[in-house]
Amino acid sequence: MKYFTKDLLERYGSQDDAVANSADAEWETAIDRYEAYLQTIRPDMPESLRQLEDGFCFHDARILSMGRRDDTFVISLQLDMPPNELVTIIYILSGAPEINKEPFADGKDTPLPWWLYEEIEQVGTDDGKHFVYSILFSNGWEITLPFREVQVSLAEPVYPLPGTVFVPMSTPAAAPSA
């Protein structure tokens, strides 16, 4: 993440009003800068990426699963806004994904991951140009996915029902006795 960083988000939630207000101003600038950057790369975006960018708000979506097989990375999630549709995003990777599992330094991680913020970046030059999709989750995880194609499917929820609460285990499960 280059705009909506963990450090900035932590300062945004600072107990020191001056720090929080400074971060608020910085955040607004980051939104403007990122919006301006997006406009510069939009003409090069594949149609599927434009649809992903224009058609969905993933903020506060609940992450149901994430997984990788070969050059495919799949994220399954449930949107926050009613009717809480289920979304599956399939990224066809153009490189190795990076998964940073460092928690937030302020210790305010949520026990289960929710989608906080995402960024799209175009990297490379000429024929090597491709896109990178970065996501910051509420548990502090940051995932960076270089990809050449993205597919999205949408479904009305049958399970989990809207409002279902997932309770994390506070202690590791006991190992089965020998």
Partner: protein, 122 residues
């Protein structure tokens, strides 16, 4: 009720700041991301409203007081997240907010900043 960590923005200010007000809130459908402010309510009503998954918004000219009060409301319901900054996708009028760290009960306690304000209910 869960015990809450120390209140954000606990540094006191010396000037007489305008007192924030709490309002019923709902999110406007569509791309604006706007939060619509309804009737003014008391703290206890706000907490009760949040417990049944409804939104509230704290309004006023003093962003520090707004943030602090929004936190107090959400912390009275249970353990809260840090304030979440507005994202570009909900729309240009989206407000920062607190919610429960396990997202149950669902919903948000929004607060106004110097740049972002709730819309009055027509």
């Amino acid at each position: 009720m869960a015990s809450a960590p120390s209140t954000p923005g606990s540094l006191s200010s010396s000037h007489a700041a305008p007192v924030p007000t709490i309002h019923e809130a709902e999110r406007e459908s569509g791309p604006s991301g706007a939060v619509i402010r309804g009737a003014e309510i008391e703290m206890a009503t706000a907490v009760a409203r949040r417990r049944v998954e409804l939104d509230v918004v704290v309004c006023g000219a003093d962003v520090d007081a707004n943030r602090r009060l929004a936190y107090q409301i959400e912390a009275a319901v249970g353990p809260t997240t840090r304030p979440e900054a507005p994202h570009k996708r909900p729309g240009p009028m989206a407000l920062p907010h607190f919610h429960q760290s396990n997202r149950s009960p669902k919903g948000h306690t929004f607060y106004e900043t110097n740049r972002r304000k709730a819309k009055k209910k027509p």
